[in-house]
């Protein structure tokens, strides 16, 4: 009976994550509009965009291969899998047991490979350019992300995300300079990986600067919808990993319905704050030239390494 309930809760959790991801994106966009003194789009705008795209007919370039058609499903699938295993609400659900942090990094890398390959598939200049930039950023961001995970796993002696969260959430409150450094690094990686300012501007189609949009230029209709949805999910996933590593308080460690409900409330509150935070960062910082992106990510890497060193030196 409990097993059945666990599975039910797990499936509900995945559905909730997949459905809530565009809402989170909508919230970030709304906050950003507010902060920039613009009239905000509706918080539901991402849903409308996705629905509209699903109703259109897909146009595919004549020379596109099967890979091009396959990629959106692969990417979306990877993101849903990630959403399933990240302990965003509870740490003891069936899938979350598989949430090894390094496996997660691999999952994101798989999605990236497909996106990039698909972008180059048609052979347009923009697709290739976007793919190249995407790979460069991934190549720089992944070491930083791994370093961040190493610090967390050094503290908790495990790379399993739910164990890390449990350990950090249950012990008495302590100052962890190493975690503070890695949190900064993680925020920077999050911005870079999700094509936010200062690395990319999600609101622009300016050819010379775009990365994410360039990748999707050849997609239309349901493929594009899936890709956009996957991007929203990716942001959501990243934010949830951040919660699991750095602010794990409120995570349910049991499967009692009450605990799960409470934990969902906590997650909602944290998402609201995180969305506002991301919007704030995006508002106060200016977009960097693409050539400065390595510097930005090197700084993130440095922060993570400093966290690691501080952990080793001070034991904190």
């Amino acid at each position: 009976m409990t097993a059945l309930f666990d599975w039910l809760a797990q499936i509900l959790g995945i559905l909730a994550a997949v459905l809530a991801a565009p809402l989170f994106l909508g919230w970030v966009n709304q906050c950003r509009a507010w902060l920039q003194n613009k009239s905000a789009p509706s918080i539901l705008q991402p849903y409308r965009g996705i629905r509209k795209l699903f109703h259109k007919d897909a146009v595919i370039a004549a020379n596109a291969s099967q890979l091009f058609r396959l990629a959106p499903y692969m990417v979306f699938g990877a993101m849903v899998t990630a959403a399933a295993i990240i302990p965003s609400v509870a740490t003891r659900l069936p899938f979350t047991q598989a949430a090894d942090a390094i496996a997660l990094v691999g999952l994101f890398a798989t999605a990236r490979v497909f996106v990039s390959l698909a972008a180059m598939d048609v052979g347009t200049a923009f697709g290739t350019l976007g793919a190249r930039r995407e790979m460069m950023i991934g190549f720089l961001a992944e070491p930083a992300l791994l370093m961040i995970i190493f610090v967390a796993s050094l503290i908790s002696a495990t790379t399993a995300l739910p164990r890390i969260s449990e350990l950090l959430a249950t012990q008495s409150l302590a100052l962890y300079p190493s975690l503070a450094f890695t949190a900064v690094a993680f925020t920077m990686v999050l911005l870079a990986e999700n094509a936010r300012i200062p690395i990319d501007n999600p609101a622009t189609h300016l050819e010379l600067t775009m990365i994410h949009e360039a990748l999707l230029l050849e997609y239309s209709a349901r493929h594009l919808a899936l890709m956009e949805w996957a991007a929203a999910l990716k942001l959501f996933n990243y934010v949830c990993i951040g919660f699991a590593l750095f602010v794990p308080w409120g995570l349910a460690t049991s499967q009692a319905p009450l605990a799960l409900a409470l934990s969902s409330l906590f997650l909602g509150a944290k998402l609201v704050l995180a969305g506002a935070g991301i919007a704030l960062i995006e508002t106060v910082s200016a977009k960097l030239r693409v050539f400065r992106a390595p510097e930005f990510l090197a700084t993130a890497f440095l922060f993570a390494v400093l966290g690691l060193l501080v952990r080793l030196l001070l034991g904190t």
């Binding site: 350990l167 008495s172 450094f181 904190t316």
Partner: protein, 224 residues
């Protein structure tokens, strides 16, 4: 979890140590001299807080004195003096460092690892509660040294020099809860005089070269 056993003030001290290390890296990468001086002042302030905490923890009266000294000299007077100097001399930016920023940072990380190794035997022998910070102090000193090596402007080198002194001070505090008072006063006096001498010196350099770029100071070579 060894961390939970630590009392809060020690956690705070460790955090301060970590922040000092972070500041060293910030100084290593910073090219605006005004910001560099502000970072130096922040470093001094962190040092002052750490000293106060340690004084409170150990009840050692001389640490209060040295905290006061740090506050007066390194947080207030020297940054003020340096700000005044750059306003008068009109040097605001350092030129591109000799090695690019990312490269310098990587060297900095290596330095931290090296300092860790260097400080390990000392930390193992130390009996102070802050012994873990010795490695960080060594790293701060060596990174300040790196800052001095990679900069061209005299002003940045001087800030590096002062940052090095801060690191040494922090090292003395972590390893032994500070040096005897008479020595600390002497060191503070030397630093103060050094800065005053430098002030005079800078004006002489400027008068001669119309710039504080040390490239002008590279004519004395062996084969001349």
């Amino acid at each position: 979890m060894n961390m939970t056993a630590l009392p809060f003030d020690l956690q705070l001290l460790n955090t301060l140590a970590a922040l000092l290390l972070l500041l060293s890296f910030a100084m290593l990468s910073q090219r605006r001299i005004v910001t560099l001086i502000n970072l130096l002042a922040v470093q001094g302030a962190l040092l002052c807080i750490a000293t106060l905490l340690l004084a409170w923890r150990t009840g050692a009266g001389h640490l209060y004195l040295s905290a006061g000294l740090t506050l007066a000299l390194k947080v207030i007077f020297l940054p003020w003096l340096l700000h005044r100097l750059i306003r008068k001399l009109g040097v605001y930016w350092d030129t591109e460092p000799l090695l690019n920023t990312t490269g310098t940072m990587l060297v900095g990380v290596l330095i931290v690892v090296f300092s860790f190794g260097l400080a390990q035997p000392i930390s193992a022998l130390a009996s102070t509660a802050t012994r873990n910070s010795i490695g960080i102090a060594v790293a701060v000193v060596l990174i300040a040294f790196l800052t001095m090596i990679t900069r061209r402007k005299a002003m940045s080198q001087v800030v590096g020099f002062l940052s090095m002194e801060n690191g040494l001070f922090f090292g003395a505090m972590s390893a032994t809860y500070g040096m005897p008072m008479i020595v600390e006063f002497g060191v503070a006096l030397d630093v103060l005089v050094a800065m005053l001498v430098l002030g005079v010196f800078f004006f002489q350099i400027r008068e001669q070269f119309d710039s504080l770029d040390l490239q002008h100071l590279e004519s004395l070579k062996e084969d001349q």
